[in-house]
C-alpha cells in the first residue's frame, strides 16, 4: 500500500518525526482557508504517487491568499504523468540550508534491513546510486538487534552530513527505523531530509509503502487501503477479493495460482497477443470465485476473448469443470472463451465441458494451443 505524502507525514508524525505543519484538502476555498490559518508563506503540493511533480508544476509557493487560490486552482485536476491531482497538501514553507536523503527498506538478498543515507538529497536516489555511489552510506541491520544509537551515529558520520546536523539526524533515523519496523513498512523514505538554517533537521517529504499483510495488527490501515489508486477494473476485483492487475491487451486471463497466471500472460505474449489482465483465482477454482472473476473480466471493454487456464491439483478436474459451467450460467459473457484444463482428473473435467462447447466456448489441449486460439479470437473481433 503506497501512501500519499500527506498520509506519510501523518504516519511519521505519529512516531515523533518532525514534519511541517499542514493540512490536506480537495477543494480550493478550503485550501485558502487552510493557508490563512497556517500563515504565509505556504507551499501547496499535489498529492500523487509518482515522482517529478515539482517539474510538472505540482509544487508551488504562495505568499498570500490570492496566490494560494491561484495555485490551488491550477494544481487541482492537473495531470502529472497520467495521475490526476485530486488532493493538495498545504504546509508551512521551510527555510532550507541543506538537503539529504534517508530511507529504510528490506534487502531481500541479504535478508536484513537496509538503511541508506546521503548528503545528496532532493534528487532521485537511483540517479545518485549511478552517478556517485560513494555518496550513499549504507547500513545493514539485523532485525533481531535493531538499530542502536551508536550504530546510527557512526552511520551519520559515514554519510558526511554537516556536523551541525548530526544529533538531529541520529534522532530522526532512530525514529524512522521504529516507524519502519513497528509500522510494518516495506519502504520508509525521507527525500529531502532537510537541515534548516537554525540547525534543526526535518522531514520535508514522506514516501511510505506499507505491507498489506500486516493489516491484522494495524486496523487503522483500512483508511490507506480505501485511498489506494486503482483503475475501475482493479477496484471491482479488489471488492471481490481477487488478486488482479489491470494490463493493456485484449485477452482476458483467469488462472489458478500466481505463478500459472503470470505464466499465462507470458504465453499469450509469446504467440503474438497481449493480456488484458493478471487474475489469480487461487487453488480451489470454485464456482463463486470463477463467476466473480468472469464478471470483472466481462466488464472490461478491452477484453475481446477470455483464456481460462486451470491446472487441477488437489481440486479435481470435474470440480473445476462444474464450477465453470455453474459460473457461466450465472454471468452473461460477451467475449468468446477458451479453456485449458489439465492436471488431476482432467479427462473427467473435459468430458463434463464437452457438451457445452461451441464457438463461444472452446477448449484446447495445451497452454500454447489455448493461447493461440484466444489470441486469434481476439484479433477477429
Amino acid at each position: 500500500m503506497d501512501l500519499f505524502e500527506y498520509q506519510g507525514k501523518q504516519f511519521f508524525a505519529s512516531f515523533g518525526i518532525p514534519v511541517s505543519a499542514g493540512e490536506a484538502t480537495d477543494n480550493v476555498d478550503e485550501a485558502v482557508a487552510i493557508a490563512d490559518r497556517i500563515g504565509y508563506p505556504v507551499v501547496i503540493k499535489a498529492q500523487v504517487q509518482v515522482g517529478g511533480r515539482g517539474k510538472a508544476g505540482g509544487v508551488k509557493l504562495a505568499n498570500d491568499a490570492a496566490e494560494a487560490r491561484e495555485h490551488a486552482v491550477n494544481i487541482l485536476g492537473l495531470d502529472i504523468k497520467g495521475h490526476i491531482v485530486k488532493i493538495i497538501w498545504i504546509e508551512v514553507a521551510s527555510d532550507i540550508a541543506e538537503e539529504y536523503y534517508a530511507s529504510f527498506t528490506l534487502d531481500r538478498a541479504a535478508k536484513k534491513h537496509l538503511g541508506m543515507l546521503s548528503a545528496e538529497g532532493g534528487v532521485e536516489i537511483e540517479q545518485v546510486a549511478v552517478d556517485n555511489p560513494d555518496a550513499i552510506a549504507k547500513i545493514w541491520i539485523d532485525p533481531v538487534d535493531g538499530l542502536t544509537e551508536p550504530a546510527a551515529r557512526a552511520w551519520v558520520e559515514a554519510a558526511k552530513l554537516n556536523p551541525v546536523a548530526t544529533d538531529g539526524a541520529v534522532d530522526i533515523l532512530l525514529k524512522l527505523y521504529t516507524a519502519y519496523v513497528e509500522g510494518d513498512a516495506d519502504l520508509a523514505e525521507i527525500n529531502p531530509l532537510i537541515l534548516k538554517p537554525t540547525g534543526e533537521v526535518h522531514a520535508l517529504d514522506a514516501k511510505v509503502t506499507l505491507d498489506a499483510n500486516s493489516t491484522f495488527r494495524h486496523p487503522e490501515y483500512e483508511q490507506y487501503d480505501a485511498s489506494q489508486v486503482r483503475d475501475e477494473r482493479e477496484a471491482a476485483a479488489h471488492d471481490k477479493g481477487l488478486q488482479y492487475v489491470g494490463l493493456d491487451g485484449s485477452v482476458g486471463v483467469i488462472a489458478n495460482g500466481a505463478g500459472l497466471a503470470m505464466s499465462t500472460l507470458d504465453v499469450v505474449n509469446q504467440v503474438g497477443g497481449a493480456a488484458a489482465n493478471f487474475l489469480d483465482i487461487g487453488g480451489g477454482a470454485n464456482a463463486d470465485v470463477m463467476a466473480g472473476a468472469l464478471e470483472v473480466i466481462n466488464n472490461d471493454p478491452r477484453v475481446k476473448s477470455i483464456f481460462i487456464n486451470i491446472f487441477g491439483g488437489i481440486t479435481r478436474g470435474e470440480e473445476v469443470a462444474n464450477g465453470i459451467i455453474t459460473a457461466l450460467g450465472r454471468v452473461s459473457i460477451d467475449a468468446p472463451i477458451v479453456i485449458r484444463l489439465d492436471g488431476t482428473n482432467a479427462e473427467e473435467g473435459r468430458a463434463i465441458l464437452a457438451p457445452h462447447l461451441n464457438d463461444a466456448l472452446q477448449m484446447a489441449p495445451t497452454m500454447l494451443d489455448a493461447a493461440r486460439k484466444a489470441v486469434e479470437l481476439a484479433a477477429a473481433r
Binding site: D184, S214, A258, G259, S263, V268, G312, G343
Partner: protein, 298 residues
Amino acid sequence: MSIFVDENTKVVYQGLTGSQGRYYGLLNRDYGTKVVAGTSPKKAGTDVDGIPVFATIKDAVAETGANASCIFIPAPGVRAAVMEAAEGGIEFIVCITEGVPAHDEAWFYNKLKRDFPGVQLLGPNCPGIISPGKCNIGITAGHIAKAAVPGEKNVGIVSRSGTLTYQALYELQQQGIGVTTCVGIGGDPVPGTTFIDCLKAFEADPETHAIMMIGEIGGSAEEEAADYIKSSVSKPVSSYIAGVTAPAGKKMGHAGAIVSGNTGTAKAKMEALEAAGVKVGLNPTEAGELMVEIVKGL
C-alpha cells in the same frame, strides 16, 4: 534419495484442529506421511481421526519423536509458531501459511540462523515438500508425482510457485520421469529455504541426476542461484522464469513477485541462468521438454 525429508520423517501439524490443517494433515497421512501429532493449546488431549493433539510442540516431540512440523496457523500466529517449533526441538519446519508480514519473516529468518542454526525452515507461503512415494508435507497433490526409481535417471525440482510446481511434476510424470524431491520454497520476500539450499542438497544427493528450477520475477534469488550453479553444481539444470510480461511496480499475486525499477525482471534472471549453462524454457511446457531431453541424454 530424497532431500530434507524421507519415509522416516515424523511430522507434527501446528494447527491440525483447524479446517485447513485437518484437511491437508489427513490427506498427507493418506499419502503415507508419518503424521504423528498435532498441536492446539485449547484441544490438548483430544485427537483428529486418531492423530493425538498436544498443547505444545515440546509435548508432541517428547511423546511422539516428531522431527518435522507443518504450520497451518493463520498469519498473526506464525512468528510464535515458528519459534515454538524451533525451541521444541523440530529440525525441519514447513510453513504453508500465506500473508505473513515481511518484517516477521525477516525477524524469524535471522533469529533461527543465530539461535537454531541446525533448523531448516521452508516457506512461508509455500506449497510444501514432497518426496514421491515417501513423504508429502503440505498441499501438493501426491498422485501427480512419480517416485524416483533407483537405477534410473531422476529429477529434483525446486520452485517459487505452487501451480507451476504441480505442472512440472505432472509433465515429468507424463513422460515417465521420477522425482526424488520437489521443494516449493514459496513466493514471499524472505523464504526460509532458498534455491541455493536446494541446489546444494540436490547436488549432494546421488539419486538426483538433474535439477528443474522454477523462478519468477522479483528479488535476485535466481541470479544468486545462477552464480551458485556456475561455481558448484555439476548436474544439468533446466529452468523457467514466470513473469516476462509483468509490468514494473505491480505485485503479481505473490508478495515477492514485483519488478522494482530495473531489478527483478524475468529477462535478467533468464540471461543469468543461461550464462551459467542452464537450459531455459520460454514457458513451463518448454522447460519440461528441455528436462526430458536432458534426462534422455544422460
